[in-house]
Symmetry: C2
Subunit: 408 residues, 2 copies
């Protein structure tokens, strides 16, 4: 029997408890031993559960109980999760977490402690909920050099954008619907401003390229400024707008890391990822593009990923070591200036002048959609150096301008 403990009994935590307790037979069969939930740490009271006797409020009970070998941290937030996780690792306990904020902020440090103590620190559930991504990325792609990782990492924003695309809804209406359906929180800031996707990009970039990327190093833009007009113009270019998180290794050995609304070509399978689904595409030098897809959130999916990590810990009580990265530094993440195609929306009271400038600047290899009545021109440029394209955009003589990146 292996004693385990769950820190936090919210949505994910209760899911973890339910799977471990209700499916203990199935799990014991896979582990060849029983994973026994000894404690559940939560400051709230849960009196009417079949396992109410397991609840404790004092973290030190766990820390000082040497019989507890595996701890699931599903509280969320950096504090006090960071202190708790660090203490558990230092005490020689393996820790499993779904807490992307914690891993994005403190991953390198916690991985180092786990390594030194020869225990596991696993966090498959922190990216893509129930979709297996981190483990296949690190293990199965072991023979690959990874060039880039690109994904739709937030289900809430993907749901909202999808409603804007398919049902022509305005952003505010789509957000309201997402809140009614329980896909968006009352305070949706972390989702719609891209912060949640940013944390996942940190984890993916750290794992893919071996050095920690911190949230403030990821250039992050949310979806609040996307309009029905943008969606319509994108459609005209055979594209859909998605909130894309991406990290890429440059020739210089530095990397880029971004979260931003992006025009995705309908010829790219990422464009077909709809609703609350998430996806991650890993581009390796040997395998080419490999894509993982599934529900990126939800109680059962996330909890099952946490439990799978706990099973892995139980089968290998000493460090698995397949997840590891070094600390990062300030100038490791840079902004790229590479050949690319951009979407440029421009509006002017002097429409004829705007159109003339656009054609002169971007030539006949770019695509154009015009709305003379509204004084609008949308441009899908040819491939040119990004700085050159931005310079040209400045010369359009537009009263209003909006620029988005593209993915083909």
């Amino acid at each position: 029997m292996i004693n385990a403990e769950i820190m936090g009994h919210g949505v994910v935590g209760s899911g973890v408890a339910e799977i471990l307790i209700n499916h203990s037979d199935r799990i014991a069969e896979k582990v060849k031993d029983e994973i026994f939930v000894k404690y559940i740490l939560d400051l709230r009271d849960f009196d009417n559960l079949s396992y109410s006797d397991k609840f404790i409020k004092d973290f030190n009970l766990i820390l000082n109980d040497d019989s507890v070998k595996i701890v699931a941290e599903v509280m969320g937030g950096v504090n006090p999760a960071y202190d708790f996780v660090k203490s558990c690792l230092l005490a020689g306990k393996s820790v499993v977490t779904s807490n992307k904020e914690l891993v994005a902020a403190k991953g390198a440090e916690l991985l180092k402690i786990a390594n030194d103590k020869n225990v596991n620190f696993l966090f498959e559930a922190s990216v893509g909920g129930g979709i297996p991504i981190l483990r296949p990325m690190s293990q199965c792609l072991a023979a690959n050099k990874i060039n880039s990782v690109t994904g739709i990492l937030n289900g809430t924003t993907n749901y909202i954008l999808n409603k804007m695309i398919v049902d022509n809804m305005a952003f505010e209406d789509a957000l309201k619907l997402a809140q009614e359906k329980g896909f968006a929180e009352k305070d949706p800031t972390a989702d719609i401003e891209g912060h949640d996707a940013c944390r996942k990009v940190c984890i993916l970039a750290s794992l893919a390229f071996g050095r920690h990327v911190y949230p403030n190093q990821v250039k992050t833009e949310g979806i609040t400024s996307i309009t029905a007009t943008d969606v319509e113009f994108a459609d005209g270019f055979n594209c859909v707008i998605k909130l894309i998180g991406r990290t890429e290794m440059l020739e210089s050995g530095k990397i880029t890391a971004t979260v931003r609304p992006t025009l995705v070509s309908r010829d790219n399978i990422i464009s077909a990822v709809n609703g609350v689904f998430n996806t991650v595409m890993v581009s390796g030098d040997q395998t080419g593009d490999v894509l993982f897809y599934g529900k990126g959130a939800g109680k059962e999916a996330t909890a099952s990923a946490v439990v799978a990590d706990m099973i892995d810990c139980a089968k290998h009580l000493n460090a698995r070591k397949y997840l590891f990265w070094e600390d990062g530094d300030d100038d490791y993440v840079v902004e790229a200036n590479e050949p690319t195609r951009l979407y440029i929306y421009a509006k002017s009271e002097n429409y004829e002048n705007l159109l003339e400038n656009a054609l002169a600047l971007f030539g006949d290899k770019a695509s154009y959609i015009k709305n003379k009545f509204k004084g609008e021109v949308a441009i899908l440029t040819d491939t040119e150096l990004e700085s050159d394209l931005l310079e040209k955009a400045n010369k359009l003589g537009a009263d209003a301008i909006k620029i988005m990146h593209t993915l083909f």
Copy 2:
């Protein structure tokens, strides 16, 4: 230093050799030890390679060399691969293979020997080439009960069908183009008749549900009878035709296993998997649908999956044990009779009678596409018990009839 050996120096084998030899530094860093290619077994001569000195023609040299710990079998075919692999496992060597035919025919037996001898028998490359599927299926979904596995498992047929859909090509022309491009072999039987996909269904079903499924237990149908007319009617129902391999757990504890052309709704992301790409969707009770996608074949992709398995062996010279299934039996795989929707194409010289029968039998909940000029009616039925639908189809009074399953 860990000595390894490669059996076979064809497309995949030469790729494995190149990765191991050219990227030995990168691999040594991951393994924390060197994987050294000591022998390459092939009956042909390869005189002008930088590693020509490694070639041998006598299998016993490998078998009797106790210093060889890891063997990559990339010869293909059941014989003599089966004897060689079995002998290596019995001699205490770990074996990695990309040989789907071997695993589909002999997997349970070889896994049992590996288990008894406490060595590894890994075959990630046998399904989906470079796409990590088997490892994430078994490890990350450990906390799930798998309900079904559905996929596009053959790139050649997917390329051909895609050409028929996008470019309105006839089957024969699309096959010829695939052969010219190197996506189909001179003798394309194994691909277009579904045999290749059938072997992969065997492996997926065996792993998902824990008992061996043999190729003759999989109801297999190829794509040779698909016509441009079918493609057009499917399009009218907002579907595309794909060669779908599928296995499902029934309530009885028995399973289904099929390979057949299937109408896939454009609302299902599987419909967006085009060209030579493969995909596998795993449906679990906790995670819902999780999908893996990538190039299913190709020298580099397949070889990199073989090398990744070799790296795993090198890191864990004792049995990893995450891949395992028991032997199967004759009545374990059955044909299901469940509620479903079918595509029924019917043609008659007495068109009016055919149409009248169709409407009377399938009612207004079915969808119809009619071609009076050609005497054709295509029906997308409502959901009914499969046997009832087939009985009704028999009553249509058609001169010619074609029935396909659907995936929504």
